[in-house]
């Protein structure tokens, strides 16, 4: 057990987790690569989705059985939904299939950057919470949206770092710092857009509570190795945040004591 995990668990909707890394289950080169990556990530929560399938297609069944065999908590998503109704229907189907009321709520407002539609997201979140769902909304880093999502009952927020699958990291640090500072008691997981472990570490150093990603691991040349790299970076970032980062300074400040410096001012 690392120092970061020692008495430093993550609590989401009254459930406690040791890992602060949530991993997606799409885009892997093979089902075994997915399973190896989940194990290497040390993740305890994995995301998954729903799609139309024909009777002839049974490929999804194998992936589903493997995901179940990982023993991880399931976090179904509403990926691709563009309206409140689509999101609610998908959520209800997910709850029945996966036997969980946890939901990664996505309501997409733009096809090009897959940006959440804040208005539909808020409406869907409110309705789903009334229906008993534990909603983890994939949202932008807008402060007022985040506040409104909390107002309707979201106990976790999942703001984007940058658009899904771009690997651009934390694009709007001002907004991210603002929501972190203004909503200090709401667990926040940076969801989407991270491409490198250093970016995940930065998010954790900023005080975010966890990281959710998929593409950066699944599309790595060695997915399981990348999963471990992210896991270690997330732990390190969390430890750094817990330890307290020094304040930045404009001018240099000697670390070695100046008192007792030999030859002090002798040549001036």
């Amino acid at each position: 057990m690392t120092l970061a995990n020692n008495n430093d668990s993550l609590t989401l909707y009254d459930e406690t987790f040791t890992s602060r890394f949530l991993l997606g289950t799409a885009l892997y080169p093979s089902p075994q690569a997915m399973l190896d990556s989940i194990a290497a990530s040390r993740s305890e929560i994995v995301t998954l989705g729903l799609r139309r399938q024909s009777p002839e297609e049974n490929g999804g069944a194998a992936v589903w059985q493997l995901i179940k065999s990982s023993g991880c908590k399931l976090l179904p998503n509403t990926a691709g939904c563009k309206s409140v109704k689509e999101a609610i229907t998908t959520a209800e189907m997910s709850r029945e299939l996966f036997e969980t009321d946890w939901l990664k709520l996505e309501v997409i407002g733009d096809d090009y950057n897959l940006q959440p539609d804040p208005f539909a997201l808020l409406e869907a979140a409110g309705e789903l919470i009334k229906r008993g769902f534990k909603v983890l909304p994939y949202c932008t880093d807008d402060l007022v949206l985040c506040q409104r999502l909390v107002d309707v009952g979201c106990k976790v927020l999942m703001p984007w770092g940058s658009p899904i699958g771009t690997g651009q990291g934390l694009l709007n640090r001002y907004n991210l710092r603002t929501i972190r500072e203004r909503l200090p008691n709401i667990p926040m997981i940076i969801d989407a857009g991270l491409g490198a472990p250093s970016q995940a570490m930065e998010a954790m150093e900023m005080g975010f509570d966890g990281v959710l990603l998929n593409t950066a691991v699944a599309k790595a040349q060695k997915p399981a190795l990348m999963a471990k790299s992210f896991a270690d970076a997330i732990d390190a970032g969390r430890m750094a945040h817990s330890a307290g980062l020094m304040l930045k300074r404009q001018t240099a400040s000697a670390s070695t004591p100046t008192i007792g410096q030999p030859f002090w001012h002798q040549n001036r």
Binding site: L50, R51, A61, W64, I67, E86, I88, E92, E96, L97
Partner: protein, 67 residues
């Protein structure tokens, strides 16, 4: 026979088919299926009582990997 839209494709089924019978063709122990008609969720407990009608738009979905 009646014509329905099944996962976006027009298809014909017997006039007295219910949703449970349709779902049974798609699901198995390893691949559960959930259903919606005209965009509204239909819980499993209601499948057997839900008679399919001509023009129904039916979505049957299964788990997939996701982010």
């Amino acid at each position: 026979m009646i014509e329905i839209s099944l996962n976006g494709e027009l298809t014909k089924v017997a006039a007295n088919t219910n949703l449970a019978q349709l779902v049974a063709q798609f699901s198995n122990a390893e691949k559960p299926v959930a259903a919606a008609i005209d965009g509204d969720f239909v819980p499993r407990s209601a499948h057997a009582q839900t008679q399919l009608k001509s023009g129904d738009k039916i979505d049957l979905v299964s788990p997939v990997g996701g982010g």
